[in-house]
């Protein structure tokens, strides 16, 4: 069925890590319709391309795919999109096949496979500069003639390298609307035949001179060394968590100062009463308590995006594969799991790149155990209030505790995966087959854009979720009466019902109350605590950390931290699980098992800490 459309649609197709996404950003200015999560492109993205003469086209960025079989969910998305099999989306009018010029010999047969889609196709040889450095010379004219498709060389990251491609697209777009495709290869050709043909073509079109070791090979001598490699990985992760603490202090103090000043000004202008309380105790305190963590979130993502863009992430998957094999998964699951450190939602979606369905389910179920950015505000708050910032050797004690919490999440995730693979999700054929891309310096603009996007997602959550939640919490902790403390309020009444469940694990009434709105987002626990205590005028300290330090015992604080290692409560995560697993069975299972673990861990922490006299 043909869907009416005005502009020609062009799809970017190619292997994972061939530079499609940076080419997409370069051609469209990075304005895409689907949110770009760091990590694998799991959804396809759409953007607009304008040629120098003002012709327009719609550009699709698809998940990386090698052939046309579709072994995993995200590969099937790419192939269905090309074939026009996605509901409500017209098939593209043409394909820009992007290939990393360095690996032309390995992947040329994928172009011949792509010709079988029958669409007009142009081959873009990306990263020609790196190929030249590696001693690879490509005769474009010979390649074009032998392949039967036009070939454009390109360095996507440089504007001069893109201009050539834009000129080509300029001339190509009018041809596309005529709807003439390429002649497919012989249908009877097997993959083996196509490979043979591709090797013959590259033998005449590609000259590879003997060359010295490439940069990538030199770096990999250390990074993929069986002993040094895992040590380097641990150091990188450790440095990441240390940096999140050590570098963010001054910026956070700045943000706190801004909110404090605004609150002071508003407080002095407005008359005493409910409106002043709503704005200062409810909105400014609640939203400010979460926004203060922007510096940490940005630093965390600065690392994750850098690891991703540089090509290190696939190496990390290689390095952890042995460990993953022990629990019945493979190294590929590392990438969704690392994304889950930002947020479980892109992580759960990125699990689509895992071929085995059982492995994918296992990965989805353990993804919420990775320390997502919504948990950081809780960790930061409680750690800063209860753990001294003293040095242990060369390390900051607060950083060590945070690292310990993250490690606890990972360890329990591995145990959970191991148990799941032995019981409910037994079987499946987990394999590892992964290309390790050459190292490259990240494109500065793409990098900054990615970082900006992540920070904005965090800030917009503060607007969409935390602001309304703060107002609701403010109302619940103030009315109908606050005369006898929290007990007289709506929140106090709700908390009283739940308190008996949580009392055995040492949670106070305030903590129980903060967990209810935290269903909307985990960091709401922080803004709720801020509002709960801010409304209570008896609290002398204006900083939430100080209030908590005075009100909670250390055992209680540690139990709260232990709870948040598991923290089953996050409606968005459960919703995306339902979507990705087509039903409520797995999200309900995830909630139940995480709740039980959270309860047991918090209880154990509380009683052990108490018996140790803390």
């Amino acid at each position: 069925m043909k869907v009416t459309k005005t502009k020609p649609r062009v799809a970017l197709l190619g292997a994972p890590n061939c530079g499609k996404t940076s080419l997409f950003n370069a051609l469209t200015g990075g304005r895409a319709k689907v949110a770009n999560y760091p990590g694998v492109t799991v959804e396809y993205r759409k953007g607009e391309l304008t040629t120098p003469e003002g012709k327009q086209a719609e550009l699709l960025d698809l998940p990386g795919v090698y052939g046309d079989c579709g072994h995993s969910m995200d590969e099937r998305v790419a192939i269905s999109a090309i074939r026009g099999e996605i509901d409500g989306e017209a098939a593209p009018d043409g394909i820009i096949f992007v290939m990393d010029a360095v690996s032309i010999n390995t992947h040329l047969h994928n172009v011949l496979q792509a010709k079988n889609y029958g669409l007009p196709i142009v081959l873009v040889l990306n990263m020609m500069d790196m190929a030249a450095r590696d001693g690879i010379e490509i005769d474009i004219a010979v390649l074009e003639a032998a392949l039967g498709v036009p070939v454009v060389s390109c360095v996507a990251v440089r504007s001069a390298g893109r201009a050539h491609l834009l000129d080509y697209i300029e001339r190509w777009l009018p041809v596309l609307s005529e709807g003439k495709g390429v002649t497919p290869e012989h249908e009877a050709d097997t993959l083996k035949d196509l490979q043979k043909k591709a090797r013959e073509i590259s033998s005449i079109a590609v000259v590879k001179s003997a060359h010295a070791q490439t940069h990538t090979e030199t770096i990999d001598k250390f990074v993929l060394h069986p002993v040094l490699g895992p040590i380097i990985l641990m150091l990188i992760l450790f440095l990441m968590f240390q940096a999140v603490y050590s570098w963010s202090g001054p910026m956070m103090e700045g943000i706190e100062w801004v909110f404090g000043t605004v609150s002071g000004v508003v407080g002095s202008v407005l008359p005493d009463g409910w409106l002043k309380s709503l704005i200062t105790d409810g909105i400014i305190t609640g939203v400010g308590a979460v926004l203060v963590f922007i510096p940490q979130i940005v630093i965390l993502f600065a690392f994750i995006l850098l690891l991703e863009a540089s090509g290190y992430m696939a190496r990390a998957a290689f390095l952890v594969d042995t460990l993953m094999a022990k629990i019945g998964l493979n190294g590929r699951a590392f990438i969704p799991l690392l994304s889950s450190f930002a947020c479980a939602i892109p992580g759960i979606m990125a699990a689509r790149s895992i071929e085995s369905e059982r492995d994918r389910l296992t990965t989805i179920l353990i993804a919420p155990l990775m320390t997502c950015s919504a948990r950081w505000p809780v960790y930061f708050l409680v750690i800063a209030a209860f753990i001294p910032a003293s040095k242990v050797g060369m390390f900051n004690l607060q950083g060590l505790v945070a690292f310990g919490l993250v490690v606890a999440g990972v360890v329990f995730a591995l145990i959970a995966a191991f148990v799941l693979k032995k019981t409910l999700l037994k079987g499946g054929n987990s394999t590892l087959l992964l290309e390790l891309p050459s190292y490259k310096a990240p494109v500065f603009r793409d990098y900054l854009r990615g970082l900006w996007d992540r920070a904005m997602i965090f800030v917009s959550r503060a607007g969409r979720i935390i602001l309304p939640a703060s107002i609701v919490v403010w109302f619940l902790v103030r009315y109908p009466t606050r005369e006898n403390g929290l007990e007289g309020t709506f929140a106090g009444m709700m908390g009283k019902v739940l308190e008996p469940i949580f009392a055995p694990i040492g949670f106070t009434l305030e903590m129980v109350i903060s967990l209810i709105p935290a269903m909307a987002a985990r960091e709401v626990a922080v803004s709720s605590l801020a509002t709960i205590y801010a409304v209570d005028e008896a609290a002398a300290d204006s900083q939430l950390g100080g209030v908590l330090a005075a009100d909670w015992s250390l055992a209680t604080a540690l139990a709260f931290l232990a709870w948040f290692v598991f923290a089953p409560q996050c409606l968005s995560t459960l919703a995306v699980m339902r979507k990705e697993t087509h039903g409520w069975k797995w999200p309900i299972f995830a909630f139940a098992y995480l709740f039980i673990l959270a309860y047991l861990a918090a209880g154990a922490t509380y009683w052990i800490a108490k018996s140790a006299g803390l």
Partner: protein, 78 residues
Amino acid sequence: MTLNELNRKLTARITGFQTQDHDLETRLREIGFAEGDQVELMHVGLFGRNPMSVKLNGALIALRRNEASAVKIEVVQP
């Protein structure tokens, strides 16, 4: 011999595939393994020398020994 038996710093040529798993053969071919191509062992994991990575026509491919056993090779030079 098969690729999983390849020891360090040897270059070998792929002679074919041997596996009951047709899907695995397709995946190996799609990512770039083909008859006649040269492979060189580059890196191995810490435990059981697993997984392994091989240089294949300028690309670096990581795979487990289990997958590698589907690739038949002959050693080119000792």
